[in-house]
Symmetry: C2
Subunit: 164 residues, 2 copies
Amino acid sequence: MKRYLMLVAILLLSGVAAATELPTTPNGISLIKGYGSWKIISPSHRPDKDQLRVILGNDLAMAAMAGGIRPFPDGTVMAKVAWTTRKHPNFPAAMEPDRFVQVEFMIKDAKKYGATGGWGFARFVGPELKPYGKEPGFVQECFGCHTPVKENDYVFTHRPAFPQ
Amino acid sequence: MKRYLMLVAILLLSGVAAATELPTTPNGISLIKGYGSWKIISPSHRPDKDQLRVILGNDLAMAAMAGGIRPFPDGTVMAKVAWTTRKHPNFPAAMEPDRFVQVEFMIKDAKKYGATGGWGFARFVGPELKPYGKEPGFVQECFGCHTPVKENDYVFTHRPAFPQ
């Protein structure tokens, strides 16, 4: 029993340690590890910022995209990853990602994030993943930018065709 | 026993039917269904063709990318999907995919495709997924283009940083 309690204590403590190590935004959203292994919703390009981006989704996001389900169900998470671009060193006609700029998350929880369309917003900047925003109200900036696509549950990204 | 044989016959026939329905290139490579659910290696942009692309990988491809393993192991498959671009209707500073252009595959089998660096090449064009190439020798065109990256096992794509 003692041994069991010790094991529980170690697991709890390591869990706490892992959680406190993750960068966290002022609205309480921590970086979600493993986002680079999520599936692709779409790429995008921002010529004004010289950035290539991919928008990735967890399984709920992919299912909602495939089925055209709106609003997105609670638990949906999307990640938008941005890099600066460079000419491919061996094929200069192609532009490829260069330096990592940021990763942004949208997390759906209709109740918890009701004030911002049901979405929790987070951004982590640069290779050091510095949390964006000085206080929790920074999300109004994110939400404001997303209001033009209210009819698509505040999501800009469309999934293009992957015919098969 | 009769029932069992019947079942085997049905399974075989349905397998054959599924195989013959898939578009197939002159070098015998059929479209691999489900490529749109593979993981992302990288996006890319071809300003000269006005195309946004994503390069996706099966699990072996992802492991080799993560571990820097070259040559890629037999069974590695990568898919490059290309779309024309358009301005996002609600956010014109962002370019997003518009029409599907093509999907291309590179399949690693060092022995089977030994004449082309161990890679089998295939391209399927347009929403109808028309197989590219008039005869099996069309792969020399693909292989020729990939020779500048021989030192990377004929693969152009680099996986950018996904820090976490």
